[in-house]
């Protein structure tokens, strides 16, 4: 079982004095959805940046598969994918090209990559006629599903989602939540969802609360 373990993680932003995260300890298990709730400014996004390998903690360790994560580039390339509230799709690449990108990066042959991408898009419920559109021509819910499909194409074990439903209506929120659950339970991914929405937090297998830089079990 591959777990992600945070050990005594502390973080502050460059050129600031205030610690945003104090001695965070947590374990995220494979095949589960963990939600992290907290008030605005509590440090949820910051914690997720560290989980997603966007920056090193000031002190403490991130352990994946019982080994400390040191090469963040490799960690991002092979282990983790981030999903953002703003979807973060390539603006000048089509839906299909967006999903193909991680496959091309992994040197999949072009034809195969396209086939695989199409399957992934189908699995998140994106209609064929949207494949050749640019992301800006899609609704928020559709964009987020494309982002999830692209995550799946990376084959990464951890999905770190920062307010994935922050810009979505209830119906689309439900769709995304279901998708994330499916990723954890069926695809055996470690899904970590930061949210301020109790309804979204509720669907998680494990719920954590971040308050003033400290993580508390709910």
């Amino acid at each position: 079982m591959s777990d992600l373990v945070l050990r005594n993680i502390c973080y502050r932003y460059p050129k600031t004095r205030q610690m945003v995260l104090h001695e965070i300890n947590a374990t995220f298990r494979e095949g589960t959805v963990t939600s992290i709730r907290g008030q605005s400014g509590a440090g949820k996004s910051t914690l997720l940046y560290l989980i997603a390998g966007i920056d090193h903690p000031v002190s403490g360790q991130l352990l994946w598969d019982n080994t400390p994560v040191t090469d963040l580039s490799a960690y991002r390339r092979n282990v983790v994918s981030i999903i953002s509230q703003s979807y973060l799709l390539f603006p000048t690449r089509t839906v299909l090209e967006n999903v193909c990108y991680p496959l091309h990066l992994k040197k999949h042959p072009h034809n195969e990559a396209a086939e695989e991408a199409k399957q992934l898009l189908q699995s998140v419920g994106i209609d064929k006629k949207l494949y050749d559109r640019l992301p800006e021509k899609l609704s928020g819910g559709e964009q987020q599903r494309v982002a999830i499909a692209r995550c799946l194409a990376t084959n990464s074990k951890i999905i770190a989602a920062d307010e994935p439903t922050g810009n979505l209506d209830e119906e689309n929120t439900q769709i995304i939540v279901k998708l994330l659950q499916r990723l954890a339970h069926k695809n055996k991914k470690t899904v970590i969802v930061v949210t301020h929405d109790p309804a979204v937090a509720q669907m998680a297998d494990k719920q954590l609360q971040l308050a003033a830089g400290n993580l508390i079990d709910e």
């Binding site: 932003y13 460059p14 940046y49 997603a52 966007i54 920056d55 580039s73 490799a74 960690y75 991002r76 390339r77 092979n78 994918s81 981030i82 953002s84 703003s86 979807y87 973060l88 799709l89 390539f90 603006p91 000048t92 690449r93 090209e97 990108y101 991680p102 990066l105 640019l134 990376t154």
Partner: protein
């Protein structure tokens, strides 16, 4: 992939192309109009004749008497294209006999103008012309003198210089002059018994009319004016300085140069403006494309961010993003080159400058993105 992406958001790339082409077009058009102005200016300069006169500074109203060394120095200058002079000294006849008395010998380098200045009617054998610019021993005398000396055109007379209009100089050498023409006059300041000789007779020909010590003081120009070679009109200011240097401060150089300046000044001002505009436009159209390229590359923020998020090395992202922009700018540069070639004004440096600065701008824009700390880049993402 790059070209596909460019075509999907073609606004800035097209603007860049437009600005690069304008950056070639504008200087070309401006350059053409500058060249036209220069030819116009040259034509203006060449089309005007500057007349020059020397005016004595010290005693106004006194006779004009310019030292020959000064006049000759001026007449030998390359920038002086034509000059006219008059000078005179007393002479007397040796043959036919001294009975005619003393009179004035007038020297000039242009008998026709001399005749005009002194209201003389010239008369010489049909089909011939009289040239006083050389050093031939010739003369023109009045009809009355021809009668009195019983000579006709083609005959010779022998004359000698004189100390003054009253006193003869018996030691003065002889000078044989062939009569080539005659004049009649109704209202002139030239007496009937005067002879008119080429200027050279006063200086070069056997030193005749100037040998005797007493006569040297007659050896001055009584009229001297000249024009400036039209090819030298542009440098008139320096020519004027040189002339003033030769004549010294006792003489004032009067010229019609004002007329020239009045004619060329508006055009010179226009030319100055055009050249300034040319410089501004050239510089502007080096930096404008660079600015647009910079903006265009900054638009790739999310592209760069996602690629680094997916674990691509920033250096790789940098090179693989910069290279196609470099290619694009070079492609645009080639189109600009074609355009400038078609317009007949190839300005390789201008285009090279535009392309180089734009490539640099692309490098800086993408470099800044790739060098930014990932957290900062992530937090500043668009969308």
């Amino acid at each position: 992939m790059f070209m596909k992406r460019i075509c999907r958001k073609p606004l800035l790339p097209l603007l860049l192309l437009l600005v690069i082409l304008l950056g070639v077009l504008f200087p070309t058009v401006l350059n053409q109009s500058i060249e036209k102005s220069y030819t116009e200016l040259d034509e203006l300069y060449a089309g005007i004749v500057i007349q020059c006169k020397l005016i004595p500074q010290t005693y106004i109203g006194a006779d004009f008497a310019l030292a020959p060394e000064i006049g000759d120095q001026i007449s030998r200058m390359d920038e002086v294209s034509g000059y006219y002079c008059e000078l005179n000294c007393p002479y007397y006849f040796r043959d036919p006999g001294p009975s005619s008395g003393n009179s004035m010998a007038h020297g000039t380098n242009d008998i026709y103008r001399f005749a005009e200045e002194h209201a003389l009617e010239l008369c010489f054998p049909v089909g011939e012309s009289i040239d006083f610019s050389g050093d031939e021993n010739i003369c023109v005398v009045s009809e009355d003198l021809l009668d009195a000396a019983s000579r006709s055109i083609g005959d010779t007379v022998t004359v000698a210089g004189s100390v003054s209009t009253a006193e003869k100089d018996t030691n003065a050498p002889d000078l044989n002059l062939t009569i080539v023409g005659s004049f009649t006059a109704e209202d002139t300041d030239i007496p009937w018994n005067a002879i008119i000789v080429p200027k050279a007779c006063f200086f070069d020909t056997a030193e005749l009319l100037s040998t005797a010590e007493g006569i040297r003081r007659w050896r001055v120009y009584t009229a001297f004016d000249f024009t400036i070679d039209q090819a030298c009109n542009k440098e008139f200011d320096t020519v004027k300085e040189a002339l003033q240097g030769i004549v010294g401060d006792k003489w004032l150089l009067y010229s019609t140069s004002r007329e020239l300046y009045r004619a060329v000044q508006p055009l010179e001002k226009k030319l100055q403006m055009q050249e300034m505009l040319f410089r501004i436009v050239t510089v502007l159209f080096v930096f404008l494309p660079a600015l647009i390229t910079f903006l265009l590359c900054t638009k790739d923020k999310n592209e760069v961010l996602i690629r680094i998020l997916y674990g691509e090395k920033p250096s790789r992202v940098f090179w693989s993003s910069w290279a196609p922009y470099t290619g694009l700018v070079i492609l645009y540069g080639m189109l600009a080159l074609l355009l400038s070639q078609a317009m007949g004004y190839l300005n390789g440096w201008n285009i090279t400058g535009i392309v180089a600065v734009s490539i640099l701008a692309a490098g800086i824009a993408i470099g800044l993105l790739c060098k930014t700390k990932l957290v900062t880049l992530y937090q500043s993402r668009e969308g």
